[in-house]
Amino acid sequence: MKVIATYNIKGGVGKTSTAVNLAYLAAQSGYRTLVWDLDPQGASSYYFRVKPKIKGGSKELIAGERELDGLIKATDFENLDLLPADFSFRNLDLVLDTRKKPTQRLKKLLQPLSDSYDFIFLDCPPNISLLSEAIFETSDILLSPIIPTTLSLRTLEQLKTFIKENKLKGLKLIPFFSMADRRKKMHREIMETLSEKHPDILQTAIPYASDIERMGLERMPLGGYTNKSRSTEAYQSLWQEILNAIK
């Protein structure tokens, strides 16, 4: 089981669509896949048409009173399940803080699922908090979408420093460009200079595209309503690069 968190300190960078579309591709190629919607806004739950509600809310969840397995919902796609969000997740930080070893908590909760899934995608809320630390402890890969702007670069560097300072050795940070607009000169320039400075950024950039935006209308992963487009191909090659990076 590999845990992949889609994470960025900033919001609106394409975390949810990355989690949903990559999970869809993983499931399509036969991997048993789970998406855990940790964002109280419940965007990935919305994309899979699942109510953003779990019995007992964040309190019972973090206390371990409910097994995760009993909260999981099958999506409309083969091999792909979802652990829905809940509005109480806005307090996840506070609930975690009441526990001993709060940053180990998610890892412990996911442990019983290790035989049931090949990949677990964590769709994380933005910001850096106790929850994000718990996510870092649990994840094998921190997949970070970055919009090619100067500000985004600063956050990437902040993240790198954080990982280094907290000695998160088991965590592999994989950044990639998201919502890249080739028509914008600034996007093009930043992507070029940055790839030189940060060779760990993946080659594939996910374009800013209307068919990705349509996910909110269609309420399903991109592959569910589009057969072949520049966007589907971009996600395909991104997934391939990630698979190669984790062997």
Binding site: R49, V50, I72, K73, A74, D76, D81, R219
Partner: protein, 515 residues
């Protein structure tokens, strides 16, 4: 809590459209796909998959073709692979879950098509108000066999599936079913599942006159010969010939061991016919055994010689093919067919009012007791005489006696308490296997020597002979191990516990008068 019914039968008069129409008034659903397909069920001739609770299906349509293994009881899919056709043997499958599941069950047996069913399939998604699928429905409409509906529950939507299941049963009056469409299809063919087994199961009335009962036994054996004949001729897999030969050997053992129930002239005539059948089938079977053992032979060699043994495989394969052709010619010969028919006719003929001898007039239980007890005593006598110095022949003779006893016990199995006779047969089997190994290894050693002479003419590389030499040595060490094991295995068989049961089941009862 009883399990929720997930599989239903549709009333015969209800066509697909009518059902869907009815359904649309009750729930919100969407037909995800609809197409015509063909379903072919596969199993080995002896129903190995069915017996293991598994169904193997090939589903073919214009859009897809896949093989799947289905749990017969739950309807759950255990493995699925996209493939155009079903390979004959499990080792011909690609590596994957299908292969790993099939291999230990099928072993050397071929997969054969059981029946082919054309059908129309609808994949239906039950939707909630967010248009999210909460239950999947598979609707299969078969020609002449009615329609089947299966519910596929989705994780986290237990209530939804319970609702649909209840709707089917209560409002739509569908009948829950546990039996697969395969069973209905077989019924239509006048067959039923597990209608062949290589095990001998003969139900005998203990009071039946011995000659009548003998005919019952021979008819069962003849049936086994006939049923395996076509597969033997076609060489579908090695076990047709094996089962064929076992039935022939049992018939021969019957003719010699169920003594004096038929006139001598009959016994002599058919004993020689079945002896001939044993003889013409033996070469092919021996070669089959070598080929089945080939993997084990190869593994017994040091790594550096493992590849050098390949020419032996080629040689055996070629020889087997030749022997098989000869065997098939024999079994298609009118003379063979004539004699087998005559035997069948003899078994059908009514018996004279009075049997031809004293033995023939006994009840079968009396005769069985006598025969088994006598052969058992002979076995013990022969085995007791064997020492470390005894020649191989005396072990071979003992093996033959063991076989006679085994066949007699198997013929008459159902005349005795099941647990006790089964335990004795099992004990005998264990003892027989050490004697069998001892002889088989010797035969294999000698054959290998003979093969190497023949292979000389084929310009085979010297390393191959080296490898065969190592193999002979390996077989020799195995043979010595079996010889060494004899005393221990015999002690196990002879132990008091077994002796008491043998005595109580078969020995003549002397009535003790109370004073």
């Amino acid at each position: 809590m009883t399990a929720l019914p997930l599989h239903f039968e549709l009333p015969e008069h209800m066509a697909a459209e009518k059902f869907l129409n009815k359904l649309s008034k009750k729930i919100n659903f969407q037909i995800a796909s609809e197409h015509y397909a063909t379903k072919t069920f596969y199993d080995s001739f002896d129903w190995r998959l069915y017996s293991a609770g598994i169904l193997c299906e090939l589903n073919q349509s214009k859009v897809a073709s896949h093989i799947s293994l289905i749990d017969r009881n739950t309807g759950k899919c255990l493995a699925l692979e996209n493939q155009q056709e079903v390979p004959s043997f499990s080792n011909q499958f690609q590596d994957g879950r299908l292969k790993t599941q099939l291999d230990p069950i099928l072993e050397m047996r071929a997969l054969l098509p059981l029946c082919q069913l054309p059908y129309q399939i609808f994949h239906i998604n039950v939707l909630n108000k967010d248009q999210k699928t909460t239950v999947r429905i598979k609707f299969e409409a078969y020609e002449n066999l009615g329609s089947r509906i299966s519910l596929q529950p989705l994780k986290g939507y237990d209530k939804a599936v319970a609702r649909v299941s209840q709707l089917f049963e209560k409002s739509l009056e569908l009948v829950p079913t546990q039996s697969s469409i395969l069973n209905s299809a077989l019924k239509l063919q006048g067959r039923k599942a597990k209608d062949y087994s290589s095990k001998l199961i003969i139900k005998l009335d203990p009071e039946l006159r011995a000659d009548h009962a003998s005919k019952v036994i021979y008819r069962a054996l003849l049936n086994s010969i006939k049923i395996n004949e076509a597969g033997t001729i076609a060489d579908i897999d090695t076990e047709f010939l094996h089962d064929y030969r076992v039935a022939v050997r049992r018939t021969r053992a019957g003719l010699s061991q169920i003594k004096n129930v038929f006139p001598d002239s009959v016994v002599t005539k058919y004993a020689s016919f079945f002896a001939w059948l044993g003889q013409i089938t033996s070469t092919t079977r021996d070669l089959d055994v070598y080929l089945l053992n080939y993997k084990q032979y190869k593994a017994a060699l040091p790594k550096s010689l493992q590849e050098d043994i390949t020419p032996l495989y080629t040689f055996l394969k070629q020889k087997q093919k030749q022997a098989q052709t000869e065997l098939a010619t024999h079994l298609k010969n009118p003379n063979y067919i004539k004699q087998l028919l005559a035997w069948e006719q003899f078994l059908k003929e009514p018996l004279p009012e009075k049997g031809c001898s004293n033995a023939a007039n006994l009840t079968i239980k009396e005769l069985a007791d006598q025969r088994i007890w006598k052969v058992y005593k002979r076995l013990i006598k022969e085995a007791n005489e064997i020492t470390e110095e005894s020649p191989a022949e005396s072990l071979h003779d003992l093996r033959k006696t063991c076989k006679k006893l085994r066949y007699l016990m198997e013929f008459f199995q159902n005349l005795y308490p099941e647990n006790e006779i089964k335990a004795l047969i099992k004990a005998l089997k264990g003892f027989q296997s050490v004697l069998g190994d001892f002889q088989d290894y010797e035969v294999q050693e000698n054959s290998l020597k003979k093969f190497s002479e023949e292979m000389m003419a084929n310009k085979v590389e010297s390393n191959t002979f080296l490898a065969m030499g190592v193999l002979v040595q390996y077989l020799d060490s195995m043979r010595n191990a079996a010889r060494h094991d004899f005393t221990k295995q015999y002690a196990l068989f002879k132990q008091e516990e077994n002796r008491i049961v043998f005595k109580s089941l078969f020995a003549p009862h002397i009535e003790v008068k109370k004073s």
